[in-house]
Subunit: 196 residues, 2 copies
């Protein structure tokens, strides 16, 4: 059985899984699952993932797995996308947990409201923008020092963080203020062969 | 050099690291870092963790690491707290990422406002309570099926999820509604020898 990826193309979390599968040469079938059409609320989908969230994958053996970062860690096990050095691997995980707690809830949520729900800038909570800029400033400080987040080479930390950072402008964040982040986005897009 | 844990005793995220070190028999020194006294905003602390968050550890070799779940994954590497089976390990990670995104922001935040900031029930956003109950209901469904979150044995998923679940009542969540969760909390507390 081929890997099934239940995902929504507008979701950075879902694209992380697509890019990782492609980078690793893992064959997959994309099952477009439109969150705004409530495709994650059907009994069929909830039987696969009771949390009702995408991405969710069904592995080759038929078992389901959810949470974008858990999925890409599973797919990439033993590959060069996970550093062999225990400390570098731990730093990669640090960035991945930080992404879900301190980056996605601001950068991705602002973009959801502005770009996908067509809200105006004045309708966005100031706190979202403030914390989103704090997250971008933290990325900038790291990327002034190293070409990739966990060090010298591309890792899953870059896959996880680039997903919403590359579309941060759709949430009203101007990446021109963060030149090291902007250069890193281009580097990671090239490494992952992201076309659109 | 002994492992240094910069943590705040009232923070479940920090206690995860303490419990894991104790379970594994890793010697450590606790550096009490009071968030409400802005001890995470001093230049000294920001030099160790620019994100200004606890827990942060300084490893035996002097290198820092942050994010509770990344820290416990690093400390527990190669131990029985991480399942050897790749799929069970992936499910453990799924719960750990879900905790930071879909559990902690509701259960821990409600408890922070009620218990630590002494707010009344009516001052808590209804959305926080609604999503917190949804998270508890999801745990209940899993724990009706398996004694621990990733299967038959204690793993880091239980360490991560018990931290705020065991004090959910301090945020206004009545665990009597979730009997499987309540029994699991007692099991995990016994396994981790949590005394207080």
């Amino acid at each position: 059985m081929t890997l099934l990826i239940y995902g929504d193309r507008v979701s950075g979390n879902c694209l992380k899984v697509k890019w990782t599968a492609e980078k690793l040469g893992v064959p997959y079938r994309w099952v477009q699952t439109d969150v705004r059409q409530a495709a994650t609320r059907t009994p069929e989908f909830l039987a696969i993932n009771p949390a009702g969230q995408v991405p969710t994958v069904v592995l080759e053996d038929g078992r389901p797995l959810a949470q974008s970062n858990a999925i890409i860690l599973h797919l990439a096990e033993g590959s060069a996308l996970i550093p062999a050095d225990p400390y570098e691997r731990a730093r990669m995980l640090e960035w991945m947990f930080w992404e879900q707690y301190s980056h996605e809830p601001y950068i991705a949520v602002a973009r959801f409201h502005r770009h996908l729900m067509a809200k105006s800038a004045s309708e966005i909570e100031p706190r979202l923008m403030e914390r989103g800029h704090a997250a971008l400033a933290r990325l900038e400080r790291q990327l002034e020092q190293t070409p990739f987040l966990a060090g010298e080479a591309l890792s899953l930390a870059d896959v996880a963080l680039v997903a919403y950072t590359r579309v941060a402008h759709e949430g009203g964040f101007d990446l021109a203020q963060y030149p090291a982040v902007k250069a890193w986005v281009a580097r990671v897009e090239a490494e992952l062969a992201i076309a659109d």
